[in-house]
């Protein structure tokens, strides 16, 4: 069981900055995120895109913002449960919470802060009618263990980096790798495209473009797929695995069943006070919440995180007196023993 003061669901910019504000109050944080890396949308969807409305940064790339936030919070030693989705929440008699992930990891905290953005990122499933019948029996939307493709025939569909990178990787594992995409052009990084070209020329990747996988064949498990090429007869390709890699899209997911007030795919909070939800002790901050006048901006998430932490402190230490201290005055004392503070003024007499 992982124990912490504030359990943060979502490791996007808002969740990450929460660690800093909590740290100033000497509260420890642990973050859960369905993605394998921190940063949320900033690292998953648009790491190379510039953001222009982060105060004091005239321009910063979304990926760099994530890096800077991680640097800023490092001394507060946040814990991470990455690649797992927060699935269930249980309120104990002492008003603390246990949050369990889809992989069974349990987290115990007196305060839960949902900073889940638009939800957890789930793979986009192509609209092939019988596709759900083959999940776990030959259709995989995410490659978790490349070894399962050893000596198998696989077909990958998609045109982005993950489709290209896995096609390249699996040529060394699978007996046969086919790549199906609706265009001859690919959206991935240039060197990946070049590498795939090389492997295609060497006969190691069977390129089928412009085409689309439109059917899955098999009884209990995948035995083949049917592929439609523009304006041609359908062809059948014998394969053991079909791997559609069409990126991820965010879904609110299990959080929607936690008994929280939901409106327009977002969690209603008390914005007059502390961004608490209808369940005391559970807060929602950043893009995942809604209130009159809500704006889904990173800078608003930072503000919400800051106020939320003050409220969390009072919940965790109901009888302790505290007033907010400026970092310029109090410095930043990390949990790792580090201390950052303003340099002392030098006093020198003028003769």
């Amino acid at each position: 069981m992982i124990k912490t003061d504030i359990l943060i669901i979502g490791a996007g910019p808002t969740g990450l900055f929460t660690v800093f504000e909590a740290g100033l109050l000497k509260l420890k944080c642990h973050l859960i995120d369905a993605l394998p890396q921190p940063g949320g949308q900033c690292s998953e969807i648009y790491p190379k895109k510039p953001i222009y409305d982060i105060p004091a940064y005239p321009e910063i790339l979304a990926g760099d913002l994530t890096t800077k936030l991680l640097e800023q919070i490092a001394s507060f030693q946040p814990g991470f449960t990455l690649g797992e989705r927060a699935e269930t929440i249980e309120k104990l008699e002492d008003n603390t919470f246990i949050v369990t992930t889809n992989k069974g990891t349990k987290h115990h905290a007196p305060v839960v802060a949902i900073a889940g953005g638009l939800g957890s990122f789930e793979p986009r499933k192509p609209p092939i009618p019988n596709i759900t019948n083959f999940e776990d029996t030959g259709v995989e939307y995410i490659i978790r263990d490349p070894e399962m493709y050893r000596n198998k025939k696989v077909v990958i569909a998609g045109g982005g980096d993950s489709a290209l990178d896995w096609a390249i990787f699996l040529t060394d594992v699978a007996t046969e790798v086919s790549l199906v995409h609706r265009r001859n052009e690919f959206r991935g990084a240039l060197d990946s495209v070049d590498k795939v070209q090389e492997l295609k020329d060497a006969g190691k990747i069977n390129m089928i473009t412009p085409a689309e996988v439109t059917g899955i064949l098999g009884d209990k498990k995948v035995t083949g797929v049917s592929i439609t090429k523009n304006g041609e007869e359908k062809i059948t390709l014998e394969v053991d695995h079909f791997i559609p890699l069409f990126g991820l899209s965010p879904k609110l997911g299990p959080i929607a069943n936690w008994g929280l007030d939901i409106e327009k795919n977002a969690i209603k909070v008390n914005n007059a006070l502390d961004y608490q939800t209808n369940i005391p002790g559970i807060y929602a901050i950043g893009d995942v919440n809604t209130y009159p006048g809500k704006l889904k901006l990173i800078l608003c998430g930072f503000h919400e995180a800051t106020l939320m932490c003050q409220s969390a402190y009072k919940r965790i230490h109901p009888n302790k007196k505290y007033v907010m201290k400026y970092t310029t005055v109090g410095g930043v004392e990390g949990f790792d023993g580090s201390k950052k503070e303003a340099p002392k003024a030098v006093i020198k007499k003028i003769e």
Binding site: R124, P127, R182, R187, N265
Partner: protein, 109 residues
């Protein structure tokens, strides 16, 4: 600068005749969100960077639209339910030449 009229068929098949401003640098995806014609969180997920295809729409009138950028073209190549008249709403900027435009929102995916 005046408003233009646009016909938008939502994902439930309901037709909406709406007015869109030409002076706010808005695009079709944003117009749909401003009128709440699609559920929040199911459209404009990437914010309008042609990186998610959640604002895919079918253009049913003969208006001359801006050329597709390679980004939009390749994003549509990975989208679902794509037709010949598919576009990403976030890449169609509202201007006076689009008066009378008729579009239909593609299914959520």
């Amino acid at each position: 600068m005046s408003d233009i009229s646009i016909k938008i068929t939502d994902r439930n098949g309901t037709l909406h005749k709406i007015q869109a401003p030409t002076d706010m640098a808005m695009n079709i995806m944003e117009i749909v969100r401003s009128y709440e014609l699609a559920e929040e969180g199911t459209i404009g997920v990437c914010g309008g960077m042609a990186m998610c295809a959640s604002c895919q729409c079918y253009v049913n009138s003969n208006h001359k639209l801006p050329e597709m950028s390679p980004d939009e073209d390749l994003m549509l190549a990975e989208a679902f339910h794509v037709k010949d008249n598919s576009r990403l709403g976030c890449q169609i900027h509202i201007n006076e030449a689009l008066d009378g435009l008729e579009i239909e929102l593609a299914p959520e995916s």
